[in-house]
Structure formats: C-alpha cells, structure tokens
C-alpha cells in the first residue's frame, strides 16, 4: 500500500509539473490543484499508514491506533489549499476578463510597458 501511494505521488507530481510548464494559465491551474494534493499525500504517506485503526482511542479501547498528527496536518493543509486554489481560480478568471488571454506569454502588460517606453 505504501509503495502504491509512493508511486501515485510520483505520477501525480510529474503530471502536475508537466501541466504547470504549460503556457496556458488554465492548465497551470490544474497543475497547481494537483500539486497541492501531492503535498498532502506526501504528508499522509510519511506519517505512516495504519489500516483499520482509529486515530483517537478511548480508555480500554483498541491498542492499535493511527498517528493522528499527519491527519490533522493534512486537514489543515487541505483547508488552506482550498482557499488558495479558489482565490487563484477567481484571479485567473478576472485576469482573463481584464487582459483577454490565458496565454501567459501574452500576459506581459506589467513588464511590456517598460520596454515600449524605453524604445519610445
């Protein structure tokens, strides 16, 4: 199971890097969504996988328990990641509406200005 998860992390990571290298902002965003989940999986995996054991136990309950800290960390990271990704999606939408392209090569208003003014 751990090996499977590690392979999954590797595959997802390479896919997300490939997506993020794209010039298309939308593809980049998909890559970003994936890679933030890859980080969550890494935390989950390195915390150690325990099958069928609860993270919180009561007195006299089962002696098997899962490490609860990685779960808490992943939960926090998911919430933060969700916020950031939704912000980024809205930003991308606004940028598309304002600039009129999702090609990052053409998104150079902020820096093109310098060149044109210098050449002028």
């Amino acid at each position: 199971m751990e090996i499977l998860l590690s392979v999954l992390v590797g595959v997802l990571m390479s896919v997300s890097v490939w997506l993020m290298l794209s010039r298309n902002l939308v593809k980049f965003l998909f890559g970003l969504v994936l890679i933030s989940n890859v980080a969550n999986l890494i935390i989950f995996k390195v915390g150690g996988l325990t099958t069928g054991a609860p993270p919180l136990i009561v007195d006299g309950g089962s002696t098997q328990y899962a490490n609860s800290l990685p779960q808490a960390l992943v939960l926090t990271a998911i919430v933060i990641g969700f916020g950031l990704v939704s912000f980024t999606l809205v930003l991308a939408l606004k940028a598309y509406q304002a600039i009129g392209t999702v090609n990052v090569e053409e998104m150079n208003l902020a820096e093109k200005r310098q060149d044109t003014e210098q050449s002028a």
Partner: protein, 547 residues
C-alpha cells in the same frame, strides 16, 4: 508575562477585525489601524527589553508541553524584527491614509494590511515548523488580497505571476515539512534541532534542506527565483509596495536563517556555499536590474533584490560575526526600503509620474524633500555616517575574518554600482529641469490610486495623451490618465520624516543595534538556550514514537 507573545499576534489581528467592522469613514479605519500598530510597537518594545534582560521567552499554546503543543518563542532576532515590523506598520498605515483610495479602503485595505502584519509577526514568533507554514499562508493570502485590491489590469497581470510562484513555493514548503516530519517524528523547531542529527538517512535530510532552501528562496527572492518580484511590485499602490518590499522578502530571509542555523546547522557546507553563491549572484543581478530600468519603483524593486543578496552573504559565511552583520543589514534594509518606496510615492505625486524621463526639477521646487531623498539614498548605498555604511562595514569585516576576498570584492563593487541607479534618480528627477512635455504630467490610472481618486473628484478632464507611443495611448482611452500636481498630504510627510529620523539615528548611534544584532547572532549560532527554553525537560529524556 505569558500573554505577551500571543498578544503581539492578536493585536494586529484584532486591529484587522476592528478596522473592518467599524462603521465610520476610511479616516477612522486608518486611525484604528495606526493605533493598533502603535500598540504593537509598545508590546514589541516591551518584548525586546524582556528578551534582552532574560534571554529567549517561550510560551506553550493550549498548555501542551513542547514538543507536543505549538510553541511560541521570541529570541533576540524575533524580538528585534517584530519591533522593526511594528515601526514599518505604523509608517505604512499613516502613509496609506493619504495614498489609498476610498474604494480600496472600503474593500478592506487596512484589514488585509493588519492581517499581513499579524502573519509576519506570527512567522517571527512561532517555534513550530507547521505553524510557520500556517503563518506564511496568513501572510500570503493577505498579500494576495492587497495585490488585487482595486483590480487594475496591470495589477492583475503582476498578481498572476506573484500568486503562481508563491503557491509553488508553498507546496514545496509543505512537502518539505511533511518529509521532515517523516524523518524525525516532530515538528517543533527546537526538538528538530536535537533530532535531525540523529537521523540515519542524512542524504534525505540534505534533500529536505534543499527543499526548504528553494521554498524560502522563492519567498526571499533569491537569485534564480526572484523574477516574480520585479514583475509585480511596481503595479501596486505605493503603500502596498512599501510594506511588501520592507517585510515580505525579509520574512523569507528570516525563515532561511532560522532553519539553516537551528535545524540544518553548518555541517551541510554545500548548502552554505550555495547560499553564498546565490547571494553574490542575487546582489549583482539586483543592481544590474536596477541600472537597466527607468521607473523609480522598478529601480527600487531591484534594489530590494540586491539587498537580499547582502543578507544571504551573512548567512552563507556562516559565522556569528557574519550573521550579526546580516541581522543588522536586515533591520537597516527593512526600514530603508519602506522609506525609499514612500519617498518614491511622494516623487510620483509631485512629478505626476514614476518614469524618470517625465520627471524633473524637484530639487528646484522642493529642496527640503530632495535632502530627505538624498539622505535615504546615501543611507541605502552606505555613505559613512549613515546606517547602510555600518551594515556594509560589518559584512566586509566578516568577510575579512573568513579570508573571503571575493565576498569583499563583490560587496564593494556592488555598492559602487548601486550608486548608479540612485544617481540617475537624483539627476533625472531632482536635478534636471522639468521636461517640457510634462507641463500637464499624466499618470496612468494604474498608479497610486489616491491621486486618481483625488483627480477624479476634481473632475479633471482626461487629456488626450501626447505620448507618441500607441500602446500607452490605447490604455489611456480605456482608463483615462489624469493630470496630477497634487501635493502630498500630511499623511505622506509624517512617516517619511519619522523614518528618516530613525535612519539618521541608526546611522549616528549604531552601537546599540550592532550589539543587539550580535546577541541575536550568538543565540542563532549556539541555540542551546533557545532549545532549553522550549524544552525545559531535557530534550533527550523524551522519546517520540517514530511514525
């Protein structure tokens, strides 16, 4: 004084809430914000005195003993930086009252600004790696909000790059934290400092260290990873740029200092060499970048990158002496960057543009203000009685102790080259006569918004652009540029003059701050006291279950 540490974080947070919910005008919101920052400064000074008297102070959140709970800890470095942060916060908040438009304030400008300060202070205070990540996020999301507030085209364009690269850095940081937890079973920084050397798989530790280096390197705008900074900083209102330039990158440097002294100390000499090289290249490219640009804000943005290089040198040399120099440089750098950007804002208001070719004659019109700029610029470069001089002397001194002649050569060279862009600002904006076609100076509405708002209020007719350049002309049609010759208000002068006085004070009486920096550097290099403060029970007695 258990509540002191947490209240340093809570005060800006509460200020953020108060400045949002209060029903009054933008002026009241600003006043609340300034008052909150002043309170933070008072608390931070108290903290500094306490730390100076008693050594590091720790506080375990929720009553869970470290390494189980989250630790807040202030050592000398944190305390100093929080004081400086509070000073910048006051100045920028005052400046923003005259600079930021009503709509942006109604959109929550002061709220995000104070949340940003809370994030910065939290990052300085936390003793837990995952908590550091959370504070970085608090800082990041507030900075995103400040970036897009107002929503100009240019701003959005810069924001896309800033957001994209910073999110990647965040993911790398998270992955690195996860891996480190897997290796050691703890996230408490003091505990990590004890446990990381005990890890069998030191190769993987080095990999994690490099991940941290890249993640924090992006935040700090270190050499191959700095391109987001000049792409976005000049698109923002000056108040936002000032606080970003002063604080955001320095938090990255702080995180680098903390992790590479406490968690991955000197034995990874390859990393120190990398830091040194990255520092040298960052310095040189920063100053070269500054030379090639003609927009004051972009020149200063590249100077920010240059100064990051100087701080990395201190970290890369790796001795207490060098670290002390880097810390002094950091204090100087934070204040001077905030000051210079605010001065740039005033130049923009007086001259109606940030473009050097359209400025001129400021020395004739405003000799007093010119002197303020001159002092700040000379202080940045390091002309003897001013604070930059001491910062650079300390770094050269550290270089001498390490026989690192190349470092000394670069510091001197880059300082000299750093003169050129500032002399250009001086000769173009202040010295030469006001260019003729700037009779009715135009400011693209993407710039400082208050000027736009003020001019809109004055119902100024939008001039047709006399600029031959087409792309500018089309933009003018979309969002009319407005003539601005408005005088900077009281809100702009107070923080600029105040910060100038502080810079002069540091320049003429640097001894106290140099002493404090050395103490801070000592406690970074020999973190025993830091560890003992966090883990009062002998750290080795505690056995963490290996995951």
């Amino acid at each position: 004084m258990n509540g002191l540490l947490i209240s340093c974080i809570l005060i800006p947070m509460l200020t953020a809430v108060a400045s949002y919910v209060c029903p009054g005008s933008s002026r009241i919101r600003g006043a609340i914000s300034v008052a909150g920052s002043a309170l933070l400064l008072a608390l931070a000074s108290l903290l500094l005195f306490q730390v100076a008297a008693n050594g590091p102070m720790a506080n375990q959140m929720g009553g869970w003993q470290a390494p189980m709970g989250i630790t807040l800890i202030a050592d000398m470095l944190s305390a100093m930086l929080i004081v400086v942060t509070a000073i910048v916060a006051i100045c920028v908040n005052i400046y923003a009252m005259g600079d930021i438009s009503e709509e942006r304030i109604a959109g929550g400008f002061f709220t995000f600004m104070n949340m940003l300060i809370a994030g910065v202070v939290g990052a300085f205070l936390t003793g837990d790696l995952f908590n550091l990540y959370v504070w970085f996020e608090v800082m990041l999301i507030s900075s995103f909000a400040l970036l897009v507030l107002g929503g100009d085209k240019m701003q959005l364009d810069g924001a896309v790059k800033y957001v994209a690269i910073n999110l990647i850095s965040t993911v790398l940081l998270l992955a690195a934290i996860g891996l480190l937890y897997g290796l050691t079973g703890t996230l408490n920084m003091a505990d990590l400092s004890v446990r990381v050397p005990q890890v069998d798989n030191q190769g993987l530790v080095a990999v994690v260290a490099v991940l941290f280096l890249i993640a924090f390197g992006i935040k700090a705008a270190v050499f191959p990873l700095y391109f987001w900074l000049p792409a976005s900083y000049h698109t923002l209102p000056i108040s936002v740029t000032a606080v970003f330039a002063a604080l955001m990158t320095k938090v990255g440097i702080y995180a680098l200092m903390r992790t590479f002294t406490l968690i991955f100390p000197g034995e990874h000499s390859a990393i120190n060499a990398t830091l040194l090289c990255a520092g040298l290249i960052t310095m040189v490219l920063g100053v070269f970048g500054a030379m090639t640009h003609s927009d004051i804000r972009r020149i200063l943005a590249f100077h920010v990158i240059g100064s990051i290089g100087f701080m990395l040198l201190g970290l890369g040399l790796g001795s207490a002496l060098a670290m002390g120099a880097a810390i002094f440089y950091m204090v100087h750098g934070i204040l001077i960057k905030a000051l210079l950007f605010m001065i740039a804002g005033i130049i923009g208001k007086l001259g109606g543009s940030f473009e050097l070719s359209r400025l001129g004659g400021l020395y004739q019109e405003r000799p007093g203000f010119s002197m303020v700029f001159l002092v700040a610029a000379l202080s940045l470069i390091g002309i003897p009685p001013l604070s930059g001089f001491w910062a650079k002397v300390l770094i050269i001194d550290a270089g001498l102790h390490h026989d690192a002649s190349i470092v000394i050569a670069f510091v001197v060279l880059v300082s000299l080259l750093g003169f050129i862009p500032l002399i250009r600002i001086w000769s173009e904006a202040f010295w030469k006569a006001r260019p003729l076609d700037a009779e009715a100076p135009t400011l693209p509405s993407t710039d400082a918004s208050a000027t736009t708002a003020d001019a809109m209020a004055a119902k100024a007719p939008a001039p047709t652009s006399n600029d031959p350049n087409e792309s500018r002309a089309t933009r003018v049609v979309i969002k009319p540029a407005v003539p601005v010759t408005n005088n900077p208000t009281f809100y702009a002068w107070v923080p600029v003059l105040g910060l100038s006085l502080i810079m002069l004070g540091i320049g003429f009486l640097p001894a106290k701050i140099i002493d404090l920096s050395d103490i801070a550097a000592q406690s970074l290099m020999i973190p025993d006291k830091y560890i003992d403060t966090v883990l009062p029970v002998q750290a080795n007695a505690y056995e963490a279950p290996k995951p």
